[in-house]
Assembly symmetry: C2
């Protein structure tokens, strides 16, 4: 272990996040905002405070060089990064760590690990950046397995080939966002997939969870950038053909995209790339009415303009992120291109805004070719707040706050009723369970047939009841999402935590087909047990 | 049977297609072109010439009102519309007709039919418009089944609901193109999916085969317009949730999109619609070099402009379709919108053409809002030739010609070598097998990472050896497509005819997963046996 090290208990680098002084300031703000007394700031766990269960299955000598049973590794692979994960870490609850953390260095290592897991009934948990917020990288509870291995792909992080003609690259699945982009930069390319977890999530994880990225419209999920895949399953290796498009049967790739590690371990993918944008046209438009703003977004999304950013923030969200004053909704609108000026695109989008009561700033709509184009004004403030959020979230959890997000999608014709119902359910739950709290909404992605709204909840919890109170809120809002026709997840995946709702959302016949596919590819039932489906 | 009736033996309406006089003229042109003597024009079969095998399984009385054993129905459902199908029809070979043609009127009829088929080991062949060119609607040969029923969905052809806010409609799967568009028109919408088979292909067929439609870029396959599906399987009904986007596990819809009737019968879909375009900007650009033209297309497809038409015709293709003089390649380029003028889009696309040696007509690039915008000049000539082609093809088959198309997709960096190899293989095969013939190429769809080239072959055959000679050509070119990294089909599907190559293209592990899904949903193995996978 040299250089910077990641926290084993929460988000990011050990040496990053709000300082003690900043935390004190935040605590004071929270105390004032929620009219609380002094806020106790809990201390994150130290490794020497943990008493991890001894590893169960013995590591075979042939795999020993790949495997670690170090406390730092095991504790760091016990959880993802959900609210519940961080609370458990603050509580020093590491009662179900993986027995072993394996770091394969090549595909044959992955195969050998899966063979060993199959032979010894050991659960195998694919691990990319560990940023799951849905219990997707957690060892299974119970004793159906003889133990569990977290298979960490961080050593498979190279860009192996770049095809400059087709604009594609063959990339190992363990590449985390920054390293991946760094390797593409000299070629003038970018994958341009920036989920909030970007710094600590991997290509394979993005594909396995249908991650949502930079583009607010058109190419919303990672799915669209996958040209072909290599997947190691306990039954063998599956490699699809590099094709720009095909109609030969159901897409093989689409079976594995979103499979969350239950069918195999993605080791490589050919990914479609973007030229690095040089033209940027961005602005922010304010609206007195949130629903008028939503209608403007609908008009833009149905106009065939494909903005790269079309994030509508409700007044509370705009205030929190520094993009607004709390009285108006703010639409962050941007177009980007490596090829052409975007004046015509933005001009028409701004017309859509003006037609629906949007207040367009004077001088908006000019395409810039300097690098500051994307970093000014409300958009820049939003970006900073976006990237720092996971560090801040961990600090808030340590101050006893409940912070959770609900992200979903719904068709436009149901949106108003849906939004009122979700806001009401979340506000009611927060009031009932915590006595107070705030609920805000933004759109992360938009489609011609509907938006992807993202709800953020923050509320003070009772000491010692943080998880129970969170569970009640999570459940109340999730029920509402489902009952009103939304999806339980637009881009955070299902994991174990969304199962109660996913199981009802997903057509039962499809669940059976998926289970049959899993039994064929993973006859020992070792891969990420309990995620997506039973068994 | 009242009104217009469809040919039971070939494409389209009985009263449409080239007249006898036109056929004589075409025959004379062919004779001159290929330096043949007098061409025998074969006569299509008459129903009274056929001696169909008596139906085998007895129809249960509960299903009798849905079922026909009329010769017209059985002969009309014996084949799709491939070259081989039409030759067999000309030869009066209807040796393996379906025993029964069923016309369900509601979903419960479909369920009852599948139950009966499962109970009696009868093959069930979903039938939409019958336009398959890959043996996708043909009863299985052999005696593994006690008979076969062609399940014709033509009575399930209604648009059931239109959602004007989200721009979507719930449509029954049996709706053929024209009736579907007619029902959407009063609402101001269009599905805007126009495969060449448009007049005689159905929504369910498009979805089951991943049909390719109007848009040359971006929304190329029907896949992108599917918001949700209803599918009747022998194990039950599967209905996905209407969502504009989702990341909840592998997409249930994507398992059925492209499943070619082996997993269930699609009965309904919520489809994303388009506003009817009112702005059109189209032109044609000529290039002295086909590869320069291809590079211009690559630049356009990587620029994020998303033309609705970007069909590159090689010199021979341009000549045949009346869009060029045979010495140059012609790029048919168009942008369409219901929302905005497209001058900026076209201006940039034309720059991409000029930069690569394209000869742009003077005055090109102006957006029109009159209805003639799409119907003038080379684009208009192309459209007429496109829609009339299937009728003409049948006439050519009757004149002893071999006509076949090979459609595929390949990434850009391999395109030149791929194209040379496919052209060489096709020309060599045509020379060797027929002594002469022509091979031409166009792009039907284009992607940022590669084109979808479409090769057309026409050659005179030896009398009586039409199918054998076709088989040799088909096989030689298909081998080359596969060996050089292409897909065996970009949008014509797999059926039975593409199996030899699809089976090698598709990853084996995926085949096993798909077979496992099929065994779960169709435990009796009755649905379209032999299509896509064995058993």
């Amino acid at each position: 272990m040299q250089g910077r090290r990641r926290k084993f208990w929460g988000w990011g680098w050990e040496d990053e996040g709000p300082s003690e002084a900043q935390c004190a300031k935040i605590a004071a703000l929270l105390a004032a905002r929620f009219n609380l007394g002094k806020i106790d700031v809990h201390h994150p766990p130290r490794l020497d405070e943990l008493d991890l269960r001894p590893p169960r299955p013995p590591i075979p000598s042939s795999l020993a060089t790949l495997c670690s049973t170090e406390a730092y590794d095991r504790a760091g692979h016990t959880y993802g990064k959900s609210f519940r994960d961080v609370v458990r870490a603050y509580h020093r609850d590491f009662s179900n760590p993986p027995d072993i953390v394996a770091f394969p260095r090549k595909e044959s290592d992955v195969m050998a690990l899966l063979d060993w897991c199959t032979d010894h009934r050991v659960g195998a948990i694919p691990y990319g950046g560990g940023s799951s917020v849905v219990g997707g990288v957690e060892p299974p509870a119970g004793d159906r397995h003889a133990g569990s291995v977290s298979i960490d792909l961080s050593h498979l992080g190279r860009v192996l080939e770049v095809d400059r003609v087709s604009r594609a690259a063959r990339i190992e699945a363990g590449a985390l966002g920054p390293a991946l982009e760094e390797q593409l930069r000299p070629h003038g390319y970018t994958l341009r997939h920036f989920p909030q977890s970007f710094e600590f999530s991997s290509l394979g994880g993005w594909i396995a969870t249908r991650s949502g990225g930079h583009f607010a419209s058109l190419y919303t999920h990672i799915d669209d950038f996958v040209e072909s895949l290599r997947v190691i399953t306990p039954s063998g290796t599956i490699e699809s053909r590099r094709l720009p498009g095909s109609g030969a049967g159901p897409s093989p790739d689409r079976l594995f995209i979103g499979s969350e590690g239950i069918l195999g371990i993605i080791t490589e993918a050919w990914m479609r790339l973007q030229d690095r944008p040089t033209f940027r046209n961005s602005t922010s438009v304010t609206f007195a009415s949130f629903f008028d703003a939503a209608n403007a977004v609908r008009a833009i999304s149905q106009a065939g303009l494909y903005p790269s950013n079309c994030r509508l923030l409700d007044p509370g969200e705009a205030l929190t992120s520094g993009a607004g004053n709390g009285s108006e909704s703010v639409l962050l609108l941007a177009f980007e291109s490596a090829d052409h000026s975007l004046d015509a695109w933005m001009a028409r989008a701004l017309e859509c805004c003006r037609d629906r009561g949007g207040n367009v700033p004077e001088g908006a709509g000019r395409t810039r070719t300097d690098s500051g184009g994307a970093r000014d004004g409300a958009a820049g403030a939003w970006r900073q707040s976006f990237l720092g959020a996971p560090y801040l979230r961990d600090a808030l959890v340590g101050m006893g706050m409940i912070t959770e997000t609900f992200e979903t999608a719904i068709t436009w014709e149901r949106f108003e009723e849906f939004h009122r119902a979700v806001m009401a359910a979340a506000e009611e739950a927060v009031q009932r369970i915590c006595g107070q709290g705030s609920v805000t909404c933004r759109f992360t992605h938009v489609y011609p047939d509907g938006p992807a709204p993202y709800y953020s909840v923050i509320a003070p919890s009772r000491h010692g009841s943080q998880i129970e109170q969170w569970t009640e809120i999570k459940s109340a809002v999730s029920e509402t999402l489902l009952a009103h026709g939304g999806t339980i997840t637009h881009h955070h995946a299902v994991g174990r935590d969304h199962r109660p709702w996913y199981d009802r959302q997903r057509p039962p016949g499809f669940a059976e087909a998926l289970a049959a596919a899993k039994r064929t590819l993973d006859p020992g039932g070792i891969l990420n047990p309990g995620v997506l489906i039973d068994g």
